[in-house]
């Protein structure tokens, strides 16, 4: 029987091809990485002689090697705070690589780690990003920078001073958003092979793009970019943005292979993954909202401290700036003031994580919107409605430069309130409160950006600095289609998927364009930068596929059809424009007996070039690079359309708190999404449910915790709690489908949506539940022990 997805059969039978399953070269050796046990320590010396003397050990790579064999990774920062693939003279977080052992197998490599002696001089550490900036006694991580501020940007849109001056009400909250990562079940994996004869470095890895990291690695390693070959297998065991940040390990294992003279493989273990792979930033912020007494939002001010850990690793500061175009969310206010600090501390490094920057953003905005509604005595749903961008305003230019393509936000809100019987829920809540129960209803909404515009990264520089640089723009994705002499089709995609069903969707839509059965189309995923088409933005991140990935495939298919139509027209001596394509054949309009089949036209291109129309190349092998005209560089007012399509979601949930234990029961969660035309409801629903649980993890369970001295506390899945089958509450989803005018099929990204609003929604619901006690949730994750502590404080306060 046919399965639902083309990917499923191999994955269900244990025949997938994940990174650790590959054996592409002989004589593979294995790496183990020695990591800093200290959050902050000078490395005075390393003695690896006893490790090197062990049977089976080939080499040990240390900071001295890395400093001589490579350069710091280029970044958006000025040439300071050098970041290499391994600590050179100082370790700046627990888990930072300090040495790499290469041995015949992993067991021997790990044995050898214990024989390496590192002379550390421990230094004081700082983990709180605000303290790292404002506390004059905070240790400085990078002496050459002289401060822990990696970057400071102030951005101003509209007239925020006027908004706050004329406001009837100003609400201000201090908020803490936690450090967590989506921890894909397959960890990082790298296999590097240095070819000394050709000076080519081939790196297999489960990197999922953007391939903008290819030049970053090439420059760090000082290798000609065409001699650095990235190969990615067709199966990646989850990514969620995290595997973008594998590239320093690609460089590191590449250096290890070069030093060892053998191919080297490294598979990250879970402790390494939790302590040192990647996560979102933790953020300390102050968010301030100016409102009129009818609940109209007049403006917002934010002071942000984003914690990027020990080093500044591109594509940071994406956490801060990737959502810039949608900083106002779904609201129509025009005045905004952003004071953003990107800060070094002794925590592990950060990067894209599902929702990249948006969970932080909406936690801030949605918390103060709720408090504003509360203080004005207005209903939180009604306040949101009053501030929504109306359907008639699209395409809508936000004050920060975003160009929202389409959406019907009010229809989403209506659908939500109707589906959840909001009025009924409020009655239930009133009854529960009368019984002394703590029942809460929370809302959150947000605009879900997809297809990052490469131009946004330039916001890290000021408008003045940008004048002196080459601008960046675009969001290009390529597809290659070949049709063989028997009319069978092979499609190479460059989206490096990690479970998002790209093979299924591309096969379906290319077959549809060609009017042939799906099984006659084969889709090749994965990547090989030496032999296949790729672009700087290629990959799967920022929910690109349903916007630009599928657009690229469909447009490429149409270009193939144009060529075949010219061939067919020449064959039957007709004008190409007089032909129509029906049931897999090109035929003359009004004279269907004069026709050439898809297969026949393709066959001519391969077997009989002499019969091709003049000027037509033989063969059918078409590569098309698709971009979006909306992906422009920032302007001189710091406005940028940071993404290219924008979905919308509005969520509501009902929670009840146990007064005795602080346990939070999420009784029901509702989400309504407008992500344009839904290409496949089953697959879209899978994306929403997965992203919902990631948001739930950040809201209630997951945190990469450190103590005040920088010790890392959550190094296993026993301490870092991912939601299991038993933690997932009932989720009800609904869709509004407003087609995007900017994509070929009217569809757009959806995979990050829920994760962006769930933390805010849970915080608002728990706050609503605790409202009778005057308790607000302004930090996440909201755990039972935190709630229990707050309940105890409230009880003490009540008695005194």
């Amino acid at each position: 029987m046919d399965l639902y997805r083309v990917e499923d059969r191999r994955l269900l039978t244990g025949h997938g091809a994940f990174l650790d399953d590959l054996q592409p070269v002989p004589n593979i050796h294995h790496a183990a990485i020695l990591r800093s046990p200290y959050p902050h320590a000078r490395i005075r010396g390393i003695d690896a002689s006893r490790a090197l003397a062990m049977e089976g050990v080939v080499s040990v790579l240390t900071g001295a090697d890395v400093a001589s064999m490579s350069r710091p990774f280029p970044s958006a920062l000025p040439r300071q705070a050098a970041y290499y693939s391994l600590a050179i003279d100082k370790a700046r977080f627990v888990g930072e690589p300090v040495a790499v052992v290469v041995a015949r197998n992993r067991y021997l490599a790990e044995d050898a780690l214990s024989r390496i002696v590192v002379d550390y001089e421990p230094l004081p550490a700082v983990v709180d990003p605000e303290q790292a900036v404002i506390n004059p006694d905070a240790p400085i991580l990078h002496e050459d920078v002289g401060t822990n501020i990696a970057l400071h940007r102030t951005l101003r849109y509209g007239d925020p001073e006027e908004a706050f001056r004329t406001a009837d009400l100003v609400v201000k909250r201090r908020l803490r958003f936690p450090k967590y990562g989506s921890t894909p079940l397959e960890t990082f994996g790298v296999l590097a092979s240095w070819d000394a004869a050709e000076e080519v470095l081939t790196i297999w890895s489960n990197f999922h793009g953007p391939f903008s990291m290819h030049p970053v690695v090439a420059q760090a390693l000082g290798i000609a970019s065409n001699k650095l070959r990235f190969i990615v297998p067709g199966d990646i065991g989850g990514g969620f943005g995290i595997k973008t940040s594998i590239y320093p390990y690609m460089a590191l294992i590449g250096l290890a292979s070069r030093l060892a003279g053998v191919p080297v493989k490294w598979i990250e273990d879970r402790q390494e993954n939790l302590s040192a792979s990647s996560s979102g930033t933790d953020r300390v912020s102050e968010v301030e909202l100016a409102a009129a007494k009818d609940g109209t939002i007049l403006g917002i001010r934010m002071k942000i401290y984003d914690n990027v850990g020990g080093y500044f690793r591109p594509p940071e500061p994406g956490c801060t700036f990737r959502p810039l175009g949608n900083y106002v969310g779904g609201y129509s206010f025009r005045n905004l003031d952003v004071d953003a600090y990107i800060v070094f501390t002794n925590k592990s490094l950060t990067g894209p994580n599902r929702g990249y920057g948006c969970p932080h953003l909406y936690f801030g905005i949605e918390r103060v919107v709720d408090e504003m509604a509360q203080q004005l005595g207005l209903d939180p749903a009604e306040v949101r409605r009053r501030n929504l961008i109306p359907k008639s305003a699209f395409p809508y230019r936000t004050p920060t430069g975003g160009l929202y393509d389409a959406g019907d936000y009010e229809a989403c809100l209506d659908k939500l309130l109707d589906a959840a019987d909001y009025a009924g829920l409020r009655r239930l809540q009133a009854e529960a409160r009368a019984q002394g129960r703590l029942l809460g209803i929370g809302f959150a909404m947000g605009v879900d950006p997809s297809v990052s515009n490469m131009g946004y990264v330039d916001i890290a520089a000021s408008a003045e600095e940008r004048k002196h640089r080459h601008p960046k723009s675009g969001a290009t994705q390529g597809t290659t289609i070949q049709v063989d002499d028997l009319g069978k089709v092979t499609v190479e995609i460059s989206t490096t998927p990690q479970g998002q069903s790209h093979e299924t969707m591309v096969r379906r839509h290319v077959a549809k364009e060609f009017q042939i059965p799906e099984h006659e189309v084969m889709v090749i995923s994965g990547m090989d930068t030496a032999t296949r088409g790729w672009t700087i933005p290629s990959g799967s991140y920022s929910s690109r596929f349903a916007s630009i990935g599928i657009s690229s495939a469909v447009v490429t298919a149409r270009k193939v059809l144009e060529k075949l139509q010219r061939i067919a027209a020449h064959q039957i001596e007709a004008n190409a424009e007089d032909l129509e394509y029906v049931d897999g054949s090109f035929r003359v309009k009004g004279a269907p007996e004069r026709s050439v089949s898809f297969r026949h036209a393709a066959g001519i291109a391969h077997w009989d070039p002499a019969s091709l129309p003049p000027g037509t190349d033989p063969g059918i092998y078409v590569t098309h690079y698709h971009t979006m005209p909306t992906a422009l560089p920032p302007d001189d007012q710091d406005r940028v359309n940071s993404s290219n399509t924008y979905g919308f979601m509005v969520d509501m949930c009902v929670v009840e708190i146990d007064r005795e234990t602080g346990e939070i029961q999420v009784q029901k969660y509702y989400g309504v999404h407008d992500s344009g035309v839904i290409l496949d409801h089953k697959i879209a629903e899978g994306q929403i449910r997965g992203s919902f649980v990631h948001g739930l993890g950040g809201a209630m369970y997951e945190e990469m915790s450190y103590d005040a001295d920088g010790a890392f506390l959550t190094g296993s899945f026993m301490d870092y709690l991912c939601p299991t089958f038993l933690e997932v509450p009932p989720l009800e989803t609904h869709y509004v489908e407003t087609p995007s005018p900017f994509t070929v099929l009217g569809s757009k990204g959806i995979g990050e949506s829920a994760t962006e609003t769930v933390p805010a929604c849970i915080a608002n619901a728990v706050t609503d539940a605790l409202r009778p006690l005057g308790i607000e949730v302004n930090e996440l994750p909201v755990t039972p022990s935190k709630v229990w502590g707050w309940l105890q404080e409230a009880a003490v306060h009540d008695q005194s």
């Binding site: 244990g14 024989r115 990646i236 479970g499 296993s716 899945f717």
Partner: protein, 174 residues
């Protein structure tokens, strides 16, 4: 330079032992150091790459196999412990990739897998569940599978797939 393994007790620790076991109906005989994990033995020595390793400390469940018919974490089992055992891995669930079990078909129909990395452990564990309890409730499915992490699906579709396989049977498959 001192030989790290000169002491005879340590030698014994590293000395490879014979392991013979039946995996998916095939008899295998190989040598394994006492410390070698069964997950590594299956993947590297027997080249059965279907069993995945997600945490190496027994929490995520991706590496689950059937060891003498019971679900076991192959990352918490030494290869030598499997001497004489009957093992089923994900590769052994279906007769061939063309003839899937009802459970495997349900996983596809319900979209119970995305990246597929946790899927081998899910399928193996759910297979054991359905052997123990052919008609579980949704709650029983969740509890039985609560030691299996999935970071893609949000779990609900996996529950649906197991329930569909349990109640189904009429729609082809084994």
């Amino acid at each position: 330079m001192a030989d790290m393994r000169k002491d005879s007790a340590e030698d014994a620790l590293f000395e490879a032992r014979d392991v013979s076991c039946t995996v998916n109906g095939q008899i295998y005989r190989a040598k394994a150091e006492p410390r070698r994990l069964l997950s590594d033995f299956l993947r590297e020595d027997l080249n059965l790459k279907g069993t995945h390793v997600g945490c190496e400390h027994g929490v995520c469940g991706a590496c689950t196999i059937l060891l003498n018919g019971r679900p076991a974490r192959s990352c918490l089992t030494f290869a030598v412990q499997a001497d004489g055992a009957e093992i089923t891995t994900v590769e052994g669930l279906a007769q061939s990739p063309a003839r899937l079990t009802r459970l495997q078909e349900s996983f596809s129909e319900e979209h119970a897998l995305q990246c597929g990395f946790c899927t081998p452990g899910m399928l193996v564990t759910a297979t054991a569940l359905l052997q123990d309890n052919p008609s579980p409730t949704a709650d029983e499915v969740k509890h039985y599978l609560s030691g299996q992490l999935c970071r893609c699906t949000g779990y609900e579709q996996i529950v649906s797939a197991v329930l569909a396989a349990a109640s189904g049977g009429q729609k082809g498959g084994e």
